[in-house]
Structure formats: structure tokens, C-alpha cells
């Protein structure tokens, strides 16, 4: 299968005062188009750092990251921002919706960076909110939604631009079991029906089972991979 993301010998070192803290120690990995990859590992293993590098919100210390044929690890900050706007959808553990905007306006945010007309933006937002089952909550503010609903708004925001890749950092970490299940079902639906490539970081093995495959990181290295696992319903 064609590799959408190609990670080649990526290293990441953080500097803390006079100390250097190596987080990733030469990761090489391909993520095929249409994949649903779960990254697991203990705290400090580097899984979120790897996700941030794939998403273009951080830069590697060494190695290269190519997404859809473009070496994003060489982009400057401005080019990265434009690239993220077009190609990456983000889902965060704490949803990170803008509290002063309602669901519709939150989902519309990434579209403000496009040249779409107001009418076109509205159509896209409505479609995205329908996909996540919140067509009737468009004008609710985050404080008026449950955690699960907030995360679904965040998912709608992530997919509204039809990104090349969706990155999810512990998307079920702050949800109860029922909402976690609904969120994972939704991600799997996006992957299966809309062929979205998803990279998800999780601590939860049950959540990881919804992915097509799982990779484990430990001390900045890939230690194990489970290929083509059977997704749990």
C-alpha cells in the first residue's frame, strides 16, 4: 500500500537548561494511506512527540518526515501553518474547543483559512456536524454540551477541511466508557467509510483495538508492531 507518511530515522532531543533529553532515538516508520494507526507506550516513551512531528506542530532534531510526498520536516513555521491548515485535522484529549464560539463556529474555524464563501463554509460545517451526529446542536456552546458531544464537535472540526491525515492525542482520555466507545466508533467510521488516515495516541488497549494496527514505543524506540489487527465493535 502507498505510504502517506514516511518517517525516516527521526530523532528528537529536548533541551532543558544545560541538559539534553532524548525523546525519539531514530524512528523509521511508514503510515500507508487509509491506515488507522494506534501509538501506545508508557508516559515519556515519545508517542505524543512522534504524533506532533507527524502533524507538523514540532520539528525533528534529525531525520526526515514526508507526508503525501512533501518533506514537512524542512518547512519553515509559516509554511507549516499553511500545510497544517490544508492537510491535518487535530483531535485533542481535552477537546480544546473555543469556549466563546458555538459548535458551528468552532467547526467553521479551520474553514476561515480557506477561500470558501460563507455559504460554502456553512454547507461544509453542517455536513461535518451531521456526520458526527450533532446536526441538532449546532448553536450550542461548549459549556452546553457533554464531554462526548464536545469531542464530537472537535472531530467535526478535524474533518471539516477534508484533511489528508487526522491526528488524535488520547481522544478518549477524558471520556466515560460510553462516550469513549462512541468516539472510537466515529473514528473508525471516518477511516472505513471516508478512508481517512488516522494516527491516534492512546494509553488504553481497548481504544487501540479499534485501530487497524498498533505500534508500541518505549524510550523513544519502536519496540513492537501488531499488524492488521481485528477491530473490536
Amino acid at each position: 500500500m502507498e505510504a502517506l507518511v514516511q518517517i525516516s530515522n527521526v530523532r528528537k532531543v529536548y533541551r532543558r537548561d544545560a541538559f539534553e533529553v532524548p525523546v525519539l532515538n531514530g524512528i523509521t516508520l511508514d503510515v500507508p494511506r487509509g491506515d488507522f494507526l494506534a501509538l501506545m507506550g508508557p508516559s515519556g516513551s515519545g508517542k505524543t512527540t512522534l504524533l506532533n512531528l507527524i502533524a507538523g506542530i514540532d520539528r525533528p532534531t534529525g531525520g526526515s518526515i514526508t507526508v503525501d510526498g512533501r518533506e514537512v520536516s524542512r518547512f519553515n513555521e509559516s509554511a507549516l501553518a499553511s500545510w497544517r491548515a490544508r492537510h491535518v485535522g487535530f483531535i485533542f484529549q481535552l477537546y480544546n474547543l473555543i469556549p466563546v464560539l458555538n459548535a458551528f463556529e468552532n467547526v467553521e474555524l479551520p474553514l476561515l483559512l480557506t477561500k470558501l464563501s460563507k455559504k460554502q463554509r456553512r454547507q461544509h460545517v453542517e455536513a461535518a456536524l451531521e456526520i458526527v451526529g450533532l446536526g441538532d446542536r449546532m448553536f450550542h456552546y461548549p459549556r452546553q454540551l457533554s464531554g462526548g458531544q464536545e469531542q464530537r464537535v472537535a472531530i467535526a472540526r478535524a474533518v471539516v477541511t477534508d484533511p489528508t491525515i487526522i491526528v488524535a492525542d488520547e481522544p478518549t482520555g477524558d471520556l466515560d466508557a460510553k462516550n469513549a466507545q462512541e468516539t472510537l466508533d466515529l473514528l473508525r467510521q471516518l477511516n472505513a467509510e471516508f478512508e481517512k488516515t488516522i494516527v491516534m495516541v492512546t494509553h488504553d488497549p481497548k481504544a487501540a483495538q479499534h485501530a487497524k494496527r498498533t505500534l508500541h514505543l518505549e524510550k523513544g524506540l519502536l519496540v513492537e508492531s501488531v499488524e492488521e489487527q481485528t477491530a473490536e465493535a
Binding site: 506542530i57 514540532d58 513555521e77 499553511s82 491548515a85 490544508r86 487535530f90 464560539l101 483559512l113 472540526r157
Partner: protein
């Protein structure tokens, strides 16, 4: 603008803080607008004269009067084309709170020496003809609802003299809008002193003013009543100087106010920016660039200061429009208004305050690393 909603919502995310911030800005810009207008009033007071007059007063003090006999000698000085006697009278109408400037003048000299009074010629003729006539500034006419031909009695403050007058003409000059003039002869008849506070000289050529001043003072140097001669501007400025250097004081207050505003606004805006670190990180993550974040935040902060400006200057315009400051200050200040230039200066100051105070927090937000912002728990 497609970002307008985002800016508007952020402006009022903390309604109490936004309200207090706007009230603070409004109060400061009200103060600044008022100070600028008061300074402007002083400036107008300075430049109210025609610039071709000298004022002769006693060398001892303005309170010391000069003998009438000086007048004839002054008229003989080459270059002097007119001389008029004038005396400041303290006094009020009906009640002490109705105190205003009352001056005597040689009635037949008014047209020639004080053309800026803009009195209707027919009214001026009536004034000159009637020894108990009065010329009244337009603000006083409105304030006391006086009409031409109306008889009024003023009450003494300094001299043992209660003028009984008939309003004969209206002075149309904003600087002199709260001044009443009566005949010097009427005043002198009542007191029989043959002395007066000042002589006003009109000169043929402004360039001769310094020489004429020196000549006047030299002429009376060894008399019992030596003189000190000023240009009209210098003479008027004495009154402002009596209060100290008001302009410097007001200017300092204005600058301090702006400085305090910048500091307070910077603190508030820093707090507002700090609260939104994670949100800014999310916006940057989904593709909002550095410049866009900077522009959005600066726009938001400048709008806050501009709303404060509009509130403060608008309130000042409302207050000055509805409250007669001449009445409140008993003629010390003319009726104030907020000039377009004052509103523009305050508006520019508001923009600068917004940019300076909001600059640092906006830059910090714009330069925030996404991963740092997402890690931050505020």
C-alpha cells in the same frame, strides 16, 4: 471580515473585565479630552486680542490704580493711535454664584480699540449714548435670559459701587462670551477717584510695540505712579501664570494618565492573553499563522481602547454640551466643547495605548510554540 465574530466574542468573553477596562479607558480619555479643551481655552484666551495693543498697569501691582492724568501723556507718544481706560470690577448678578467678569471701558473707544467684540453698530451707538449702558457677552445673555433694553443691577464685590445698567448690546466673541462691559465714566462718576486700573493703547505698527513699551515705562519711571507695560498677550498670560504653569501641569497630568493607562491596559491584556494560551495553541495547530494571531489579538486590544475612547470622548461631548462650564466655573473657563482635533488626538492616543499595551502579550501569543501551548494548563 470573516474573523469579526471571533474578535467580537473574545472582546466580551469576560464581560466584567471588559466593562471595567472600557470604563477605565473612558475615564482616562474623558480626563484627557477635558484637559486638552481647557488648555485650548487658555490658548484662545491668549490669542483673543488683535495683537496691536499694549496694556499699561501700575508697576507695583495690578491692584494699584493709575491716575487719569497719565492718559493725556500716553496719547502724545508717537505711534499710539488710541488710548482707552479700563477697570476690572468684582461683582455678581443677584446671587454670589452668579459672579462673572465685569469691566469698565471708555465707551467711545470700544469700536476703534476692540473691534473683535463684534457688536452690532446700532447697538454700539446705543451703548455709547447711554452712560448706564452695558455690552454683554452672548453666554451671559443666554444664561440670565437678558434682552436688549433690559434693566439690571449688579452687586459690589470690591468697589463700593452697585452698577444699575441697561443692556444695550451683545458681544459676539467666544473668549469674551462671559464678560460684561460698562462705561468707565459711570464708574468714575460714582466713585469720583479719577484713577483706573489699566490703560489700553492701540499702536500704529506692531513692530514699534517694544519701543513704545519702554518709552511709556520710562516716562513714568520717576513719578508717584510708575507703570509697567505689557503686550496684550503678556498681560492676559499673567492671569494664567498666577495659577502656576497650568499648561505644564495639565500636560503632565495627561502624560501620566496615558502612562498609567498603558500600564493598566498592559496588565489586563496580559491576563487576557495568558488565559487563552491553550486556545491560541489550538488556533495555531489548525493553521492560524503567526501574523494572523498577532493581527487578531492587536485588533481586539485596540478595539477595547477605542471603545473606551468613544465612551470617554462621547461622555465629554455630552457633558460639555449640556453643562455650561462658563457658568460652573463662574466665567473662568468659556463654554467648553470637544473639538474634532481633540477627539482625533484622543483617538490616536487610544490606538497607541492599544498597540503598546497589547503589543507584548500579542507578540508572546503569536510566537507561542504550539506544543508548549497545548501542554500548558491555565
Amino acid at each position: 471580515m470573516k474573523y469579526a465574530k471571533l474578535i467580537r466574542r473574545n472582546l466580551f468573553r469576560n464581560k466584567l473585565r471588559s466593562f471595567l477596562m472600557i470604563v477605565l479607558m473612558g475615564a482616562i480619555f474623558f480626563l484627557i479630552a477635558a484637559l486638552i479643551q481647557i488648555l485650548d481655552a487658555f490658548d484662545n484666551f491668549d490669542t483673543g486680542g488683535a495683537g496691536d495693543r499694549l496694556v499699561v498697569q501700575s508697576a507695583f501691582s495690578l491692584a494699584q490704580m493709575l491716575p487719569y492724568a497719565h492718559e493725556q501723556k500716553l496719547q502724545q507718544i508717537p505711534g499710539v493711535v488710541g488710548v482707552a481706560k479700563s477697570q476690572w470690577l468684582g461683582g455678581y448678578y443677584k446671587e454670589r454664584r452668579n459672579t462673572f467678569a465685569i469691566l469698565t471701558l471708555d465707551a467711545d473707544k470700544v469700536s476703534a480699540l476692540f473691534p473683535e467684540m463684534n457688536v452690532n453698530p446700532d447697538e454700539m451707538t446705543e451703548f455709547v449714548r447711554d452712560r448706564r449702558g452695558a455690552l454683554v457677552g452672548q453666554d451671559l445673555m443666554e444664561r440670565f435670559h437678558w434682552k436688549l433694553g433690559e434693566r439690571i443691577t449688579l452687586h459690589r464685590e470690591i468697589f463700593p459701587f452697585d452698577p444699575e445698567l441697561t443692556v444695550r448690546g451683545v458681544v459676539h466673541n467666544n473668549v469674551l462670551a462671559s464678560v460684561l462691559y460698562l462705561h468707565q465714566d459711570y464708574f468714575n462718576e460714582a466713585l469720583k477717584w479719577n484713577r483706573v486700573g489699566t490703560f489700553w493703547l492701540k499702536v500704529r505698527d506692531r513692530n514699534e510695540m517694544p519701543a513704545i513699551s519702554q518709552q511709556v515705562d520710562a516716562m513714568f519711571k520717576n513719578s508717584e505712579d510708575p507703570t509697567e507695560t505689557f503686550t496684550e498677550k503678556e498681560f492676559n498670560r499673567q492671569f494664567v501664570n498666577m495659577m502656576g504653569n497650568v499648561k505644564v501641569l495639565f500636560g503632565t497630568i495627561s502624560l501620566c494618565s496615558i502612562f498609567m493607562t498603558v500600564l493598566l491596559a498592559a496588565i489586563t491584556m496580559s491576563m487576557a492573553a495568558r488565559e487563552r494560551v491553550t486556545e491560541v495553541a489550538v488556533l495555531k495547530a489548525i493553521g492560524f499563522g503567526r501574523r494572523l494571531i498577532l493581527g487578531l489579538m492587536l485588533t481586539e486590544f485596540v478595539i477595547t481602547t477605542l471603545v473606551g475612547w468613544a465612551a470617554g470622548v462621547g461622555f465629554a461631548a455630552l457633558i460639555f454640551g449640556s453643562v455650561d462650564m462658563a457658568k460652573v466655573t463662574m466665567g473662568f473657563l468659556p463654554r467648553l466643547h470637544v473639538a474634532g482635533s481633540t477627539a482625533a488626538i484622543c483617538g490616536a492616543a487610544a490606538i497607541v495605548v492599544g498597540l503598546v499595551a497589547g503589543g507584548l502579550p500579542s507578540m508572546k501569543s503569536a510566537n507561542l510554540r504550539v506544543v508548549d501551548g497545548l501542554r500548558k494548563v491555565v
